[in-house]
Amino acid sequence: MSYWFTIAALTGVNVLLAYSVYASFMSGQVSIGQAAFFGVGAYVGASLTVLAGFDLMSAVLVAGIAAAAASVFVGVPTLRLKGYHFTIATVAFAEAVRVILHNTKYGRPRASGNVGDQWLGPDGATGFRHIGYLNDNGISTGQYAVIVWSIVLVVVVAFFLVERSRIARILRTIEEDEVVARSIGVPVARYKVIAFVCGGFIAGMSGALYAHILTFISGNDFVIHLSTIALAFVVIGGGQTMWGPLLGAVLLTVIPEILRPIREFRIELFGLLIILVMLFRPTGMISAITVRRWGSALAAKARAKRPTQAF
């Protein structure tokens, strides 16, 4: 059972990662570098609980803030430009962060431990081992899954509210045509940067949560593969509404686990699945039209239940 709780927690982490891509995706800015903010969040979060004795929630929050700061650093110079420069810059930044994380070493010696395993904190290429917060505080994987999913719930509700607000309209206008958005007085660059920084914040939180499940992270966890898969969550689930990232991340995390009986070929099937979904549902699994259709079906059902309105 605890295996499935771990999967549930990892799914929550991936949902957060998908929303971090989606935040700037709404304004038409495609980031292929969320792994950088995820990695920064993971390292900061783990360092805070392991080395500085923070509790989990504040470590996660600080990790989010650190990642948001990193995304300001990337976003401000590049988001003022139109076109693809931003996407390209995120790829480069993510790779720089990966290599730096792969080479950082700080922390203190560990009292107990075998030879060659006596360091607490990130240790260069060996990675950051012994992130034992959950174990030390007696948090079971089930409880942890609940913690992760309550953060996911907060984020989903936030997106649900944003999607129905003026902000989403503005972001979608920017996505459609930046010149039009400017002509009606939208400070385009400011909105794009804010959306991207919110994405960075979510990615940072997600990274910190990830580090505590895995208890062991290294710079090479945050390769370009991860960034593209985070984007795949959104594109496969559907980038037109907020339900797409949720569905995409859940499916793409759970399906490889369900396929475990035929584990030998699960990664191939995962790749095949991505191709097939793109071939048959290029708008993603949930498009805006699907949502509208289901919405009106629900509304019709609700109307049918009220007999007084039937006549």
């Binding site: 420069h85 191939e268 793109m278 071939l279």
Partner: protein, 300 residues
């Protein structure tokens, strides 16, 4: 001080020579990006397939070098054809990200299948790749030019000249330049857009295959993960020089080669990639269009 200067020159020259393979990988990326605005994430697969086709022809069959390169290019082009037919052709009408994610799927699928097949035949991480130029070299004063690096540079130069000829002297190249400007107008002018793009995929993948051969030969090794490493290097060369521009890919590849070797010579091997990537990121902040790229979109 004198010896330091010699070493510095030596490192720079090695970097330039070795960077020419990065430039070849980057050309493959930049062709597709320039024409379609998609990152062809499956490009590494063509490099890997080219490397293994080369390994089979050079080590196992023992074919001469020039035939091996041709075989690698053909094998790469075959993969390029598949990428076009599976990931791009059916998705032409969709958003640009859709074919890109499809190439991600293709990359994961093929690399995984390839690793399975590979580990059925060989039980180690790498297989040797015959290098006919091993140990050969050219001495100029106190600078030594490695033979295989020189061959790499020669092949890369030849391929770049062919590419320039194709793009600026043939109708195909004219059609490509048209399409790079605007697909719709191109097709209104009677350019067979689909066919030209298939050719572009073939060309890009053939260059990837050649790069695979050269990478394998200079390293004396062929491994199944080479493709993923090549994706990163090629992508960064392209970005450094300027996405979508062919001179950009060349300048980017050569500078990445120099940057990597210099930073491992001047600082440390461990930080080699970090320094290269940070330099790249700083370049992007100052010149988001890359070193020689043109700014395609206006500033707002």
């Amino acid at each position: 001080m004198y010896f330091f200067a010699i070493d510095l020159t030596q490192t720079t020259i090695d970097g330039l020579l070795f960077g020419s393979t990065y430039a070849l990988v980057a050309i493959g990326f930049t062709l597709i990006w320039g024409l379609l605005r998609i990152l062809n994430l499956a490009h590494g697969v063509t490099v890997m397939v080219g490397m293994f086709a080369g390994m089979l022809s050079a080590t196992i069959i023992g074919l001469p070098f020039y035939l091996g390169i041709l075989i690698s290019m053909c094998a790469g082009a075959l993969v390029g054809f598949l990428i076009d037919r599976i990931c791009y052709r059916p998705l032409r009408a969709a958003h640009e990200l859709v074919p890109m994610i499809a190439t991600l799927g293709f990359w994961i699928l093929i690399e995984e299948v390839f690793i399975k097949i590979y580990s059925k035949f060989w039980f180690r991480d790498y297989v040797p790749f015959a290098n006919p130029f091993d140990g050969a070299g050219l001495e100029i004063g106190q600078i030594r030019l490695r033979g295989d690096y020189l061959v790499t540079l020669a092949v890369a130069t030849l391929l770049v000249i062919i590419l320039y000829f194709l793009i600026y002297r043939t109708r195909l190249g004219l059609a490509m330049r048209m399409i790079a400007e605007d697909h719709d107008i191109g097709s209104l002018m009677g350019v067979p857009v689909g066919r030209v793009l298939t050719t572009a995929f073939l060309l890009s993948a053939a260059y990837g295959g050649a790069a695979g051969y050269l990478l394998g030969m200079t390293a004396n090794l062929a491994g199944p993960y080479a493709g993923s490493q090549a994706v990163v290097k090629g992508l960064f060369s392209m970005i450094l020089g300027g996405a979508g521009s062919i001179p950009g890919a060349i300048v980017g590849g050569l500078s990445l080669g120099v940057l990597e070797l210099q930073s491992s010579f001047l600082f440390s091997f461990a930080y080699r990639d970090a320094i290269a990537m940070l330099a790249l990121f700083l370049v992007l902040i100052v010149r988001p269009q890359g070193l020689v790229g043109k700014r395609t979109a206006d500033r707002i």
